[in-house]
Symmetry: C2
Subunit: 145 residues, 2 copies
């Protein structure tokens, strides 16, 4: 697996081990991870810290140029909130572990010129399936259902 | 002025007094404010705590049903991140102080069935204009420019 998707998956696994929602993300600039994170709904009681948001938050305040040269890796197809954030900051490329568990706003991203790559990674998928089987209500809460 | 837009403006003024970006928001459920907040880019070094996001964060974890019965008030037209968040949680109605300073994703929201009301409030506009004149680079950073 790509080292950066692997890092995102490790974040997801960390989230799972914490009793949280196992979605992880890393923001990569010039071949370096500048922010990594995972969903913190359970851990922080947060409705906004999805994996992608946590990675961006941990990257801190960056100049527009940095986002515009970065790639966001995420284990799961990005929801409307995270997709909107990608658009706000003009992140040009997103690499997605899988979209079978949840189909995010990939079409909107593509329509706005974002390069979207879906890896269809089995480990990302299996982790989410295990989690959803164990905590279906928590998953529904996270996607506003 | 509507009491809830007034509360959002007070949040924006609080942000301005803190040296931050003066955009405020409140989430209203059944006539009660359940979350209020303002942009925390400067105060928390956060790229994700726009006013709307801070209001949702401060409302804490809520059942899907609560969001679906709520109204989000914001002093400025919501950017792609905040608009995506509105879509994620199915918030059906957004009241916007003004959109002359910045036009957010109002068309996307309407296309997805969100009721969007723009009040065109002069106090919200004047506060942003004053801020942008004083700190243009900080404003650009906030909208990814």
């Amino acid at each position: 697996m790509d080292q950066f998707l692997q890092a995102a998956l490790e974040e997801a696994q960390k989230g799972y081990a914490e009793g949280g929602i196992p979605i992880g993300s890393v923001l990569v600039h010039n071949g370096q991870i500048i922010g990594r994170g995972h969903n913190k709904r359970v851990q922080n009681g947060s409705p906004i810290l999805h994996g992608e948001m946590d990675a961006l938050e941990n990257a801190g305040r960056q100049p527009a140029k940095v986002y515009q040269e970065s790639v966001l890796y995420t284990t799961l197809s990005p929801c409307p909130m995270c997709s909107g954030t990608i658009l706000l900051y003009g992140i040009p490329k997103v690499v997605i572990g899988e979209n079978k568990t949840f189909m995010g706003e990939e079409e909107l991203l593509k329509a706005r010129g974002v390069e979207v790559t879906v890896v269809d990674n089995q480990d990302c998928y299996n982790l989410m399936q295990q989690f959803i089987q164990e905590k279906p209500q928590l998953w529904n809460e996270d996607i506003g259902v």
